[in-house]
Every structure is written in C-alpha cells, then in structure tokens.
C-alpha cells in the first residue's frame, strides 16, 4: 500500500496549517460538547429521576433524535443563522460559532439519552435512601449526577467523538473557509474532491488516532470507575 505509506509520511511531516486545522476541530467539538452537556446532563438526569406527564414521549423523541443526520442539523442551523433567517442579524453564519451551535444540537440528544441510561439504575438504588433523607430536588439531582460521573464522562466522550467525526453539519454552516472554519473532516472532504487521496487519507489517520485516544480514555475511565465503586 504505497498510498498508505505516503499518507503516514504526510502525517509525520505535519505543518502549521495542519496544526491549525486539528486545533480548530478540537476547539469547536470540545466547546460543543461542553455546551450540549450543560443542558443535556441535568435534563437527562431529570428524565431518569422524575415521573411526569409526557415523560415517555420526551424519552422517545430524544432517543429518536440520536439518529438525526448531521446534514439536517446543518440545514436547520443554516436557515436559522442565515441573513434571511430569524437570527441572521447576528452575522454568525460561516463562523466557528455557527459550527459549535450545529454540533451542540447534534450531540445534545446523545448526551441526554446516555446520561438518562446512566442515572436510571443508580436512581433505583438510591431512591429510598434519598427519600428518607428528605433531600431537595436539586440535591437529589446533584447527588445522582455526581455518583454517575464515570458513566456520564463516557456519554460526553461519545458525544465528543460524534462531533469530531461529523462533516455534514459543519460544512454547511461553516462553509469550509480556509484558515477560518476549515476543520479536519471538511479538509478530508475537500482533498478527496481535489483527487488528493493521500492527503485525505493522512488526515483520516489523524482523525482515527484521536478517536482511538478517546476510546482508550473511555475504557480507562470506565474500568477506573468500576474499580473505585468495588473498593468503596
């Protein structure tokens, strides 16, 4: 595989331009993960803890939204942020901020559903205890989120991985502008369209390495969490 060999050479000879692209990818996806989790973690926990009207409906909707194609998210955010759209006057279309918004929307349902899954069994174990202690709803939420933190970190990493790997949304709302909104996935798409398959593959290798690192992290945190709980 000579293409693979050349691709690896390209990765090893990474220049400043490539560094900027990787940096922006990480910055956009990390910020999107943080923003999505600010809303998704409390809401996911609430869905696991309390029974209220439309809870089942909300659960089904949020789970289905995990299958939302990035292109659709991109289009929705595009129409929202376009000058012809309701939020057009802010002029943030074709900026990293627009990409962050799109990715936040994209991974929100993922973090939400995985958080709910993590809290559900914990809530069953803790319910009687917390009822007996007569804690406030906020305290209950905090306790459960804190004790499910390892599983929630896994949820965050899953969301982050999804954000980092998607191309459909960021290419629409970011515009793939050189040196400004160009991230790894859009660069891969661009280089493939230019027929520069080696370079595209080289970037794919970097993306894969990051995904690999994330998975090692998930694995490590997961096993650490289990060990910690057994010791306690």
């Amino acid at each position: 595989m000579s293409i693979l060999g050349q691709a690896i050479d390209l990765v090893l000879s990474a220049d400043a331009e490539l560094g900027r692209i990787v940096g922006l990818s990480l910055r956009v996806s990390l910020t999107a993960t943080l923003i999505a989790s600010l809303f998704a973690i409390p809401m996911g926990a609430a869905l696991a803890i309390w029974n209220f009207r439309f809870r089942q409906v909300l659960i089904v909707i949020s789970t289905s939204l995990m299958a939302l194609p990035p292109v659709v998210v991109g289009l929705m955010v595009y129409l929202l942020l376009s000058r012809a759209g309701p939020l057009g006057s802010y002029g943030i279309l074709f900026t990293p901020a627009a990409m962050i918004i799109a990715q936040s929307v994209l991974i929100f349902p993922i973090v939400l559903a995985l958080t709910r899954e993590a809290i559900l069994p914990l809530n069953r174990d803790y319910e009687n205890l917390l009822n007996a202690l007569n804690v406030s709803p906020t305290q209950r939420l905090k306790t459960l989120i804190w004790d499910a933190r390892f599983a929630i970190v896994t949820a965050l990493l899953a969301g982050f991985g999804r954000a980092l790997a998607e191309v459909g949304a960021v290419i629409i709302v970011g515009g793939n502008i050189a040196g400004f909104t160009r991230v790894m996935t859009t660069t891969i798409a661009l280089e493939t369209s230019k027929g520069n398959l080696q370079l595209a593959l080289a970037l794919g290798i970097i993306l894969l390495s990051i995904a690999f690192a994330i998975n090692i992290l998930i694995h490590w945190i997961g096993s650490f969490g289990r060990k910690y709980q057994v010791v306690r």
């Binding site: 910020t31 002029g91 990293p96 502008i177 661009l190 230019k194």
Partner: protein
C-alpha cells in the same frame, strides 16, 4: 459548573468577534480547487488588510447564499444566472474577471470522437458508454444541460448518472468506473486522481467558460460590506491583478485567462489548453 459556563462564553465570544475587517465571497469549487484563491487572496489581504473568506460551493448554491445576504461578493461562472441575479435586484456591477473552458473527459483509448456533438450523440444512443453528470445545479451542470439541449438530445437512461456532487466527486467516479464527464479546465488540470482519464473533446465555442464578479446589492441587504466588496472587485479587475491571474499556472499549464479589460482580444479557445511558454 460556573467555571465551565464562563469558559464556554469566553471561547464563544473570542471566536465570533476575532476579526472585523473581512468580506465573504460566495464562489465556485472550480476556483477554489484549482488553488487560485490560495495564490491570489493573500496578496489582496497583504495590500489592504482585508481578510477574504471564501465559501466555495456550486454556482447555484453560491447564488442562493448571496441572495440570502450571507455573502458580500459573488464570483461564479454561469452568465445567464448571473444576469438574472442582477436583473432581480440582488446584485450590482457585474464584471468579467477571467475565463477558461470546459473539457469533456473520459477514459483514454476507449473511443475517438470527431467533436463534442459526435461524442454526446454516441453516449445517448449507445449503452457502451457511461456519462457522469454533476446533477447539483452548479455552473458546470447548467452548462452540461445546455449542451444536451443544443444538440437536441435528452439524457435519460442507465448510462446517464446524476450524482448530485461536486466536480471532484464526479471526476473521482468517472476515473473509477471508466465514465465520461464534463469538467472545467481548472479543476481538471489541478485534479490529482486522473487515473485513466484524459480529455476527449475540447476547444469548441460552446465550451467557453467565463467567470464574473458581482457585488451583493446593499439596497437589498444593508448589512453587506459594500465598500470593502467594491475594493475587492476593483482590485481583481486591475491590470496588475489581471496579469497575476494570467500568470497562475499549475504544472506549467495556465489555468485562467484574464478578460476584465474589454480591449483585450479574447480567443474562444482558451490559451490554457496549451502549455504556457515564457
């Protein structure tokens, strides 16, 4: 938690307001993929301090972006769409910038065609050939449909594949399934995965491919940066920039021929079809 929120807003705000002096250009993939912008725009930024953000999509989509007011300048290649854009009041001051030509590419050695008409007629009347169509409403796709119409042919059937993708994707596909496709010369020359493909028809009048620059009308979209946009338009048609465009080569081949100056004698067959000699 408050710390995280603060971090988010900090990241968010620095990203949004990082730079003020910029214009956004909606343009075509052909100009971007050929590397023209990477070559040209740093010189403009150096001279004026204005950053240029290029959103490269198909001509049809670029026009839609400009119509929505999401760009300040439009630089595309489909004359009748450009004229309609201006006539509908969305754009002002259309100017010629440069041209090259379209080429019909396909597998080497498979067949020889006398001319473009013979090639397209053969494709539509035989099942031995496959034609890949962009199918994405780009300038190249619009031109391709005009060519079929000009020869009274209706492209339909299994041999005609509308892939709804960019020029590069169409070329990648043509290379891998031994198909024919219409490409602009700039993308073709800069394309890195030609495989067994070569030019099978070129040099006819109807393959002329002119690029024009249009300013988005500030009367329609008051927020557009008309002054900087005009500065860019003036710059790109200036004699100096025009000769810089003419000097842009890739592997010894000239990619674009400047034609902003009306006194210039325009050959319909683009000189970029022959290696440039100094």
């Amino acid at each position: 938690m408050r710390f995280i929120t603060a971090c988010c807003f900090l990241l968010f705000s620095t990203m949004t307001f990082a730079e003020d002096k910029f214009i956004t250009i909606a343009s075509t993939t052909s100009t971007q993929n050929s590397g023209l912008y990477d070559y040209l725009l740093p010189q403009f930024t150096k001279e004026t301090g204005i950053d240029v953000r290029v959103v490269a999509v198909g001509t049809g989509q670029a026009i839609k972006i400009a119509k929505n007011g999401d760009a300040d300048v439009l630089l595309v290649h489909h004359r009748s769409s450009e004229d309609a854009f201006v006539a509908d009041g969305f754009g002002i001051d259309r100017r010629d910038v440069m041209y090259n030509d379209f080429v019909l590419v396909g597998p080497k050695d498979k067949a020889n065609f006398e001319n473009l008409e013979a090639a397209l007629t053969t494709f539509s009347s035989s099942n031995d050939y496959t034609f890949v169509s962009r199918g994405d409403d780009s300038g190249t796709h619009k031109r391709e449909r005009e060519l079929w119409a000009a020869f009274n042919l209706s492209p339909q059937g299994d041999w005609y594949r509308e892939i709804g993708a960019g020029m590069g994707a169409a070329l990648n596909m043509s290379a891998s399934i031994e198909a024919y496709t219409l490409s602009d010369r700039g993308t073709w020359l800069s394309f890195g995965n030609k495989g067994n493909l070569d030019i099978v028809a070129q040099g006819e009048d109807m393959l002329f491919n002119p690029y024009g620059i249009i300013l988005v009308n500030p009367a329609k979209h008051p927020h557009v940066k008309i002054d900087m946009a005009r500065q860019f338009s003036d710059w790109i048609i200036s004699d100096r920039t025009q000769s810089i465009i003419g000097e842009f080569t890739l592997n010894g081949m000239q990619l674009f021929c400047p034609n902003a100056n009306p006194e210039q004698n325009i050959d319909v067959i683009c000189p970029s079809s022959v290696p440039k000699v100094d």
